[in-house]
């Protein structure tokens, strides 16, 4: 189970594949189409009552979206860019008959105000509706982006025209900064953020603060992948979801749901609570996966004796490689280099990630491409 004394993700997954398969083969609770007890929470100052387990539609087939609606889920998250645009059409078809009973939330790519409003028109057509309940700007990763005037103008105009009831933003990188900025902006109603059992203290604090400020908080990427739970109880997928929904400042979660079985298991979480065994497995998995992803916790800040601004350089690398936004990457790197030393040619990098992720290759790549 361990590799050199450390529990690795690969060993952890290998450990309980059979257990997971057995768990997932158990019949769901929805044999007759009954969802069991639904839980609702109020989405911040919007006043909307939404099911705590809602639906991330990105990977959901139309059939699953339709079933989710029939079972009482009332918040559906999609985006202009999902499946090249086909996902909004799927959501539109699946929910057309019950449009008044559900809330549809979609997201637009950042751009000029006109570009974003044009995207919105396309989205409304695909969704077969003349309004959405929530319109968000997609995948923000900095305070500047949250405060961008063109973005705010597009969202505000959409709201004023009645084409959206509420506005928000989504973020899955540098979340703490973005959530805090959303509070400061004083115009956003809703924040959709990555939030899971691996989230660090600054993000948790930011989310709590945003909830207290009246923003509706929706959690995504709640599972961080799949893993076995040899001790039974909730499946690990359910446990991870349950961990998030234990937090009173989270209104709902929108887990990506690929099939009927997963939908049933997600809904079951609304009437189950985490056991001690569930928590132990989550802790083990958190330890095994902590080093995989940079969470922009800024634990690497100040570590470079040459003065390289490591968290900012990592962010530039993320723009270049993760988002493929070369203009943004170069623009930001130019600012970083202007204000601090760029990554140099040290024989050995002494900086370390507090979560165990590898720093030096990413920094070297950013420097070689952006300097």
């Amino acid at each position: 189970m361990t590799d050199g004394g450390n529990l690795t993700r690969r060993n952890f997954l290998r450990m309980g594949t059979t257990a997971a398969a057995l768990g997932m083969a158990a019949p769901g609770l929805l044999a007759q189409g009954s969802a069991g007890k639904l839980e609702y929470r109020v989405l911040g100052r919007t006043g909307l009552k939404v099911t705590t387990v809602s639906l991330g539609c990105m990977v959901a087939p139309e059939e699953v979206i339709a079933m989710a609606g029939d079972l009482g889920i009332n918040w559906f998250d999609t985006a202009h860019g999902y499946k090249g645009g086909r996902n909004e059409s799927e959501v539109g078809r699946a929910l057309k008959a019950r449009r008044k009973d559900v809330h549809i939330s979609t997201k637009l790519r950042r751009g000029s105000t006109q570009e974003m409003l044009a995207q919105l028109e396309t989205s409304l057509t695909r969704l077969q509706t003349d309004y959405v309940d929530n319109l968000m700007v997609h995948a923000l990763s900095s305070r500047d982006q949250v405060m961008d005037e063109a973005t705010l103008a597009a969202l505000t105009r959409a709201k004023e025209s009645g084409k959206t009831r509420f506005i928000g933003l989504s973020t899955h990188s540098n979340m703490t900064e973005c959530v805090n900025a959303a509070v400061d902006a004083k115009v956003y109603d809703i924040v959709l953020t990555s939030f899971n059992f691996n989230s660090d203290a600054p993000l948790i604090a930011a989310v709590e603060k945003a909830a207290k400020a009246g923003l509706g908080i929706i959690a995504m990427k709640t599972q961080l992948g799949e893993f076995p739970n040899p001790e039974g109880g909730l499946t690990p997928h359910q446990a991870a979801l349950g961990w998030v929904l234990e937090k009173p400042y989270i209104t709902c979660a929108v887990p990506g749901t690929r099939d009927f079985t997963q939908l049933e298991h997600n809904l079951e979480v609304m009437s189950r609570r985490l056991t001690a065994a569930d928590r132990r497995e989550l802790e083990l998995y958190a330890a095994a996966t902590r080093s995989l992803y940079c969470t922009a916790c800024r634990g690497c800040e100040g570590q470079c004796p040459q003065g390289v601004n490591i968290p900012e350089v990592r962010r530039c690398a993320m723009y270049l490689e993760g988002y493929r936004d070369t203009g943004l990457a170069r623009e930001n790197y130019a600012q970083v280099a202007a204000n601090a030393a760029p990554c140099g040619d040290c024989a050995e990098c002494v900086a370390t990630c507090v979560r165990g992720a590898r720093l030096q290759p990413v920094l070297a790549r950013a420097h070689s491409r952006l300097a």
Partner: protein, 337 residues
């Protein structure tokens, strides 16, 4: 009494043996050095053992020279594309070659190529179709491609390829040129997936052919599904077939489908023994469905209106799939199966 050890004079065979042992140790050491994790130091991709394909990034594209290469596998793909990595891996990702091109040694790269080896043509196709915006125009690039700003995307063989212009100086023409050059270097026997030829063309609805890697129609027990939509005077329905690992996987899937229908109160009939398996029933969300299995193939129909006709169609599809794919239809492309 002390044991007297006799030291004998080494024979030539012993010396040769020692040399061979030392050479073996050195070879192992060199292999470990080369095969071990190289992080992302620039490497000739032909020497990185994680890159299984013969395709090597060209040394020159127009006026641009190859500046750097990187190879990523499933272990470290997340470092490159972060949250998208699991999706690519689920789609059959094997390795990624990243190649950067610049106008000169001291210049910043202006074109970057991501060459994803997806192991099979169907995987590359499926990944491409997921990324293909319906409003985009399919262009003659590889087996199918599109342009989006300064990015060209296409699939060919078992490769899914993205070519990106970097920086303000990147030109769309440079991106298109680079993409065309890479596409030419990938061998492929066909522009189409052989599997789609299995479907009857009678009543086939336009633009309905698709490949769904996992959980088609929301059914967790199905995977690797080739799907076609049909529109006939009798109604619209879907046909699909799946090529699985072997008969056991097929039996498991058919039984799971019976369980799915039974759990929802819609199972009508199930034949779960023998060589020809079948199950049919009704469900509110997938409609009336018929699933048949034989050998390593599943075939089925959804939203059927006439069970007898559906049986004929699915049986026909199963026969066609076996005939076409059991005869060793090539998966095509470098790196393909």
């Amino acid at each position: 009494m002390a044991v007297r050890r006799t030291r004998r004079k080494p024979r030539p065979a012993d010396r040769i043996g020692s040399i061979l042992i030392l050479a073996g140790v050195a070879a192992v050491w060199l292999t470990v050095l080369l095969v071990g994790r190289t992080g992302d130091r620039p490497l000739d991709p032909g020497r990185d053992p994680r890159w299984g394909a013969d395709l090597v990034a060209p040394g020159q594209i127009g006026d641009l020279e190859l500046a750097a290469t990187r190879v990523f596998d499933a272990e470290d793909l997340y470092e490159y594309i972060n949250g998208q990595a699991p999706h690519y891996i689920q789609f059959g990702f094997r390795a990624l070659l990243v190649a950067e091109y610049a106008a000169g040694p001291a210049e910043l790269p202006s074109v970057m190529i991501d060459l994803y080896d997806m192991q099979r043509r169907r995987n590359a196709y499926g990944l491409f179709m997921e990324s293909f915006p319906p409003e985009a125009e399919l262009i003659d690039l590889g087996n199918g491609g599109f342009l989006s700003g300064s990015v060209a995307v296409f699939w060919k063989g078992s490769f899914y390829v993205r070519v990106m212009g970097l920086g303000a100086s990147a030109s769309e023409s440079a991106v298109e040129t680079a993409a065309g050059l890479i596409a030419e270097r990938i061998e492929d026997d066909s522009r189409e997936l052989a599997e789609f030829a299995v479907f009857s063309r009678e009543g086939l609805a336009e633009d309905t052919l698709s490949f769904l890697k996992a959980a088609p129609f929301g059914l967790a027990h199905l995977r690797e599904a080739f799907v076609a939509g049909y529109d006939t005077p009798e109604g619209a329905f879907r046909l699909f077939f799946c090529e699985l690992e072997g008969p056991e996987a097929v039996v498991e899937a058919v039984r799971a489908h019976a369980g799915f229908l039974e759990g929802r109160g819609g199972l009508q009939e199930a034949n779960l023994e023998g060589e020809n398996l079948s199950v049919w029933g009704e469900d509110r969300y997938i409609g009336a469905s018929l699933l048949m299995g034989r050998g390593r193939f599943l075939a089925g129909s959804l939203r059927i209106t006439d069970v007898a006709e559906a049986r004929r169609q699915v049986e026909d599809l199963l026969n066609r799939a076996e005939s076409a794919l059991d005869s060793g239809g090539k998966d095509g492309g470098i790196g393909g199966e």
